[in-house]
């Protein structure tokens, strides 16, 4: 199993109470995480990405942060899946249609969408992660 950052990020949200608090701790939360991860707000705007995520799309983190997901990923309708996760407040795992890059090795095969919310409160953000295999197998 490839560990998701979801629990750590949700724990950080519980402590900080705001998505900005998670953004402030993003580097600390993701520094040892080897797979792509990105944090978005509920308008589907990138708030933070880790190095593997930026490399997977051959962009710098600064080229992603502040941009809308649909602006970066113009060749898919994946933003609808992000909207589904945020609206329903449920975590989803999907196979990747076009495996994203992973250095010289095989590409990432699946991705997950984890809505970020405190109990009994609306979703305030979304964690997008990629994995070499299905994280739920």
């Amino acid at each position: 199993m490839h560990e998701s950052l979801g629990n750590e990020v949700i724990a950080a949200l519980l402590v900080s109470a705001t998505i900005n608090g998670v953004v402030e701790r993003w580097d600390e939360l993701t520094k040892d995480h080897p797979f792509p991860a990105a944090l978005l707000d509920t308008r589907m705007v990138y708030l933070a990405v880790n190095g593997p995520y930026a490399r997977a799309f051959e962009l710098s983190p600064s080229a992603l942060v502040g941009k809308e997901y649909a602006t970066i990923h113009r060749d898919t309708d994946d933003v609808l899946l992000l909207l589904k996760a945020v609206t329903l407040g449920e975590r989803f795992v999907f196979p990747l249609f076009s495996p994203a890059k992973q250095g010289d090795s095989e590409g990432y095969r699946s991705w997950s969408l984890t809505p970020l919310k405190n109990p009994k409160e609306p979703t305030v953000g979304l964690l997008v992660e990629y994995y070499p295999n299905d994280p739920e197998v």
Binding site: T76, D77, L80, L83, L88, F97, S98
Partner: protein, 115 residues
């Protein structure tokens, strides 16, 4: 008539669970992507076929019909190989399923935003 690929799949339950704006987006985007795919196949534009298949594959994440993703993949691969004849069968089946699914969405009161 329910497409054979949808037998045993509770599409109505999945449709009912779709938030209203997502149902509308699915309907609007689905209609548009199917038209794009039809046009791309008709004119033999392999790149456009791949683009439309890729986009349709994203939509499949909204409703649990595995065959749609399978057909989208087969169409995409045919485009990638520039062998669009191989896309004929999956294209026919994908269109049949999408037509039925879009019909189900309309029957649940969803309407397209297309102008």
């Amino acid at each position: 008539m329910v497409p054979k690929e949808c037998l045993g799949v509770d599409v109505d339950k999945a449709v009912k669970r779709l938030p209203a704006h997502l149902g509308t987006l699915f309907l609007t985007t689905g209609e548009q992507r199917v038209r794009e795919l039809d046009r791309a196949i008709a004119i033999g534009d392999a790149i456009a076929v791949m683009d439309a298949a890729h986009s349709l594959a994203s939509l499949m994440g909204l409703l649990p019909i595995d065959a749609l993703a399978t057909y989208a993949r087969e169409i995409y691969d045919a485009g990638e190989r520039n062998e669009l004849a191989a896309a004929k069968h999956p294209h026919q089946r994908l269109v049949a399923i999408m037509s039925w699914v879009l019909c189900r969405l309309r029957s649940h009161g969803f309407t397209s935003n297309a102008v």
